[in-house]
Point group: C2
């Protein structure tokens, strides 16, 4: 089957989600092994959590301690560096607006590169993306104009686009991140990797 005949894997993530970071590191290679491309969607977990009446796992007593331990162990299991930053969870709407701006104006590969840069900034380099100076600096390191990036995240157009994308994700049944949609089938969580692999290798089960 030609690559172009297979639908892309839709990948919904939040820049502040450690399991999204881990999955983002293995997803492209897995997709490529099965002749698929990846279409990324930056979203705000704050919005999906509200719609599904959920909270972050680290907002729950007892579960918080387990989750902090599991983030690190799950990263080691995949051979990925993942260190929880000082500001965690952190607001990520500015980075997400820049993502959608890149997606719209420069295409999916540019948006995917920004997704990786932002997730690694948070989970490898302890960057707080809600800090304007830090996000401007990340944009510059990434070869963007810091002024242009800041104009984007303050622009009602890109604010509205992110809100529309969140609404569309919620309407599509997305309540958490990472979520993968393969051939219309939703898989929630970095830990659904084995099921996704089986689906890609041999179809619905």
């Amino acid at each position: 089957m030609l690559l172009s005949m297979k639908s892309p894997i839709d990948f919904y993530f939040d820049f502040s989600s450690p399991y999204s970071h881990i999955a983002n590191e293995w997803l492209d290679a897995l997709a490529a092994r099965h002749g698929r491309s990846v279409r990324r969607h930056a979203l705000l977990l704050g919005a999906t959590f509200q719609a599904a009446e959920l909270k972050s796992p680290v907002s729950h007593p007892i579960k918080r301690e387990y989750s902090m331990h599991d983030f690190a162990r799950s990263a080691r299991f995949e051979g990925v560096v993942c260190r929880i930053p000082a500001v965690f969870p952190q607001p990520t709407q500015n980075a997400a607006r820049v993502f959608w701006w890149l997606s719209e104006t420069r295409g999916e590969p540019a948006a995917a590169a920004w997704a990786q840069a932002g997730l690694r900034a948070v989970f490898v380099h302890n960057v707080a993306l809600n800090d304007a100076a830090a996000l401007r600096n990340l944009a510059t390191e990434h070869g963007l104009s810091a002024d242009e990036a800041e104009a984007v995240w303050n622009d009602p157009v890109w604010k509205a686009r992110l809100k529309d994308e969140n609404d569309a994700a919620i309407a599509a049944g997305i309540f958490g991140a990472p979520t993968f949609v393969v051939d219309g089938e939703p898989f929630w969580g970095n830990d659904r990797k084995p099921q996704i692999e089986r689906w890609l290798a041999s179809g619905p089960f």
Copy 2:
């Protein structure tokens, strides 16, 4: 290394938890491949959810639909029959009290057999364990005296034992089911099977 030198795998489950049922079907074989035994702990998710300020996944809008789909898919992934019963979630304190009575008076293998019988009753045969007649019937089919079983689940001694076990689980950091504890390391969820397998095969990672 002798079998007796390796610590058992502690397995915390609720009779009303589909992921516990799925895991219960693969756990003994996995443990045996690595020279481990299994020590089961019946608990009430209602108690651990309250301690961790959580609710059942099916109590959340949007997440509910995904979860119902994922229960079935995750069961197929493991080759396990798992059908959500008409009464779901269902109160399981009576079945859990019988579990601890068997554990105390007849030993772990008798309790493990009851765990399997109860989970299969719920998730294969559509039994409501909170229905006294249905639970008496299950006890009889299982070779127990229905009258003795009913006396157990109404006995303050076994009510207190279950409460103590719930309190101990919560104190040990258990907030959901299934949870596995291997060499002191907690793994939450049927989907942690690959991590548990790696731990058993090659130790901490």
